[in-house]
Symmetry: C2
Subunit: 274 residues, 2 copies
């Protein structure tokens, strides 16, 4: 009845979902999958509007739509092709690989995060930058993981954003010798919290998973971990590691604010010390 892994050996038959890879489930949220067979279904009716010429933008849009609906887990080139009514190979004419497509998705998601170089304080500018980034991710939360992984080293290289961050650091009085370090601090701050906040849950079966995690939570020995035990009620589903919903369903607004205030206060401090 119970396997060594402590779970029932097999649950319900689980029909079409099956297969997949890497962070897939880890990063995923939910997703059905009504599988059609092989050949694409050409829909000639105007209602669907699926018969304009295929193009990279149409493909990227379809990909985003699919990721929004089904999570990263629900994403596959073949499915995108299916919803566009073409063969998978057709997609390959416009996009060299699956991951190039995902890179394009990231790029599209990240348009216009960097605020213009107005006349406020540098502190306010960075606050605005961080908030805008978060809003951009919020619009397509299931893309969050991609962004985190991609933004680091990627063709989604937005020179404008980089230039503005550097300019702002200069006008914040950052020493030229420290500017690369501080730039990295800014980017890590921008991306770090939000990536975690919107990291999606591992399970196919969120309800069950939440229940299990709550179990585990209640099983914590109050004597061994008194501080944790004391704060548990306040932390439940509101603190990293002790939550069972992602930022989509349980936003962490106040913690985000705290995070950026810490970051900015820290930057003030470090910049004034140099």
């Amino acid at each position: 009845m119970a396997t060594p892994s402590g779970k029932p050996a097999r649950l319900s038959p689980k029909p079409g979902v099956s297969a997949n890879k890497i962070s897939q489930r880890l990063l995923a949220s939910t997703s059905p999958k009504r599988g059609s067979q092989n050949a694409p279904i050409k829909q000639k009716d105007k209602t669907a509007g699926q018969n304009e010429a295929l193009s990279k933008v149409r493909i990227v849009d379809a990909a985003i739509e699919q990721i929004d609906r089904n999570g990263l887990m629900g994403f596959s080139l073949r499915d995108v092709a299916r919803t566009l009514g073409v063969y998978p190979a057709a997609v390959y004419w416009h996009v060299p690989t699956r991951d190039a497509l995902l890179a394009a998705v990231v790029e599209s998601t990240m348009e216009d995060v960097a605020p213009p170089l107005g006349k406020g304080t540098w502190q306010d500018w960075f606050r605005e930058l961080f908030s805008r980034y978060r809003k951009a991710v919020k619009r397509h939360p299931n893309v969050a993981q991609l962004v985190g992984a991609q933004l680091v080293s990627n063709g989604s290289l937005s020179p404008q954003m980089i230039d503005r961050i550097l300019s702002m650091l200069v006008s914040a009085g950052c020493d030229e010798s420290k500017i690369v370090e501080m730039y990295n601090v800014v980017v890590a701050t921008m991306v770090g919290f939000v990536t975690l906040e919107y990291a999606s849950l591992p399970s196919d079966d969120p309800a069950n998973w939440a229940a299990q995690l709550q179990e585990k939570t209640h099983a914590i020995r109050a004597l061994e971990f008194p501080t944790l035990a004391r704060h548990l009620p306040a932390m439940a589903n509101k603190a990293f590691i002790v939550r069972w919903q992602s930022g989509t369903d349980a936003p962490m607004d106040s913690s985000f604010v705290a995070f950026i205030e810490v970051a900015i206060a820290g930057m003030e401090q470090v910049l004034s010390r140099q």
Copy 2:
């Protein structure tokens, strides 16, 4: 010759690698894959040592080894089974799913990150925590993405670490009403930078990819982005978004130090204000 996506329509035949999913390539580093067929190759010789009874720990260890060698991309249940000389289904007796296995990998990677509650300052304790976390990730860099995604909301719930972080915050004078927020700040700080630093590169062909990115970099219009242009030499391969190696090959030590100093200075500031 050139497709709309601006890349050659098809490169070299690309033999066995093929297929895969999600962040796969995004998170991956490199990986061959010498494919055996279907049935596992039983090796009865002692040298390989592959004939002890199958068990969850052996499976997890094999998984880690494989991820270290081939990247997350090179990871598959079937491959793990292959190296253990058993059928894929055998693995399923010990581990309920692929992602449960990856969760176990994370858990194993994250052992003992939280330092004991010694007698130093709270500042030093957090410095130590952040450094230990980074070292743990460094040991198995290809697991970094998993950790980032998992640690947030996961069965890798380590009550001890949480308890210690909370205790430290209390003794740092953190107001009880702000403790959850500050805890989240700490976790995001711990995980954020390092996850980005070790995020792996998208390409199957890192050399080519690096070249392309350098091209793109040189193509930046100096007139349009003067600050960026000025600092480009200092940033190349050392700054997020403008690098073509991951933390494994190009560690970002000084930026990491700057990051945690900013974080700690910020925490001092915020804690003293409340």
